[in-house]
Symmetry: C3
């Protein structure tokens, strides 16, 4: 069984909230669990019906929705390294940079997600799904 | 020749429609053609200018836009298995689950798509493109 | 250090601008730098707070955000060919087409991006980030 959401939006009563979140990471690659902070911002914003856009502000970072389970995050990290491996000889490195793999990993993970807000909360954060659907930011330290 | 759409939105006259679609699938992986149902919901919603967000409600499911051609869907399925293969030894399996590959496949396919609505219909559903651009949900049975 | 944007939107004072961009490309695969044209459209639209959706209009094309650096674009091109190689024997080719790989490459790159507009400009186009975050369209000639 699979269920899918369809949401089509024409919105009024303008309410637009933008907040920047900053994270200091200490490892070369890091996975940050964003869900609690986003839920708090949605609550504070008062938005009842709309969309939340969560977008990375660096091009070697991305945002994805998946299970916040430490083993899976290790699997994802190894998988990204397998599909977009660190190598010395990317053409991009002729600029003096050494993070060609990070650019490719970010392309795989993707830059942003959009999540619907209904009745003032993320619809994924309700009921039995709540433990499963989580927002994670992935990125290399800048 | 490639053409791209740019749509920037500040919307009023609030009209927001949310519907949930559920599918009972019988195979481990399944590809569901969503376009007709989404077109019907857009028509029913009365939205003239806006965006349609189609988002998976399970983290081992995704939504993508591509050709609704059975051979291509087989190609996509084999390709997903090649890039994110079923394996016994994902770390995620230490939790008792056995679907590590489904989580990775869903990351590749991605969680949601946003499509512009203009003049009351999906702009991709017009003219000579109409047979080519289709919305497909991909997911593992929960 | 990684920073992330959160933007939740309920918009009014309807202003919706849709423009189509067309590109004539001469090579089998091409990468088109879209940022200047999108910035110009955002400026012309007068939208102050909202979202810009940039969506490919062909299913063998995609849109992504990354560094507009020629070496990196070569890396991306080789990487796409590695992960979704040209092959004669895709099932899709039984229809008479020969672009199975292009469909898979487009799935990797993805179909569309959404970028927040604040204070009348793309927020990624400000300050020290401006040289880094660029929008690129990728696609095969139709």
């Amino acid at each position: 069984m699979a269920s899918f959401l369809f949401s089509s939006l024409e919105l009024s009563e303008m309410k637009s909230v933008t907040e920047y979140l900053k994270f200091h990471t200490t490892t070369h690659r890091a996975y940050v669990h964003l869900t609690p902070q986003i839920e708090e911002i949605v609550r504070r914003s008062g938005v009842q019906e709309g969309m939340a856009l969560v977008s990375a502000m660096h091009i070697t970072a991305g945002v994805y929705i998946n299970d916040n389970e430490s083993g899976l995050i290790e699997d994802i990290d190894q998988w990204l390294e397998h599909l977009a491996p660190f190598r010395k000889n990317y053409k991009h490195h002729e600029t003096g940079e050494d993070n060609g793999d990070s650019h490719l990993k970010a392309l795989l993970i993707h830059h942003e997600v959009i999540v619907p807000i209904t009745a003032g909360s993320w619809i994924w954060a309700r009921g039995s799904e709540s433990s499963m659907r989580n927002l994670t930011a992935s990125g290399t330290s800048a």
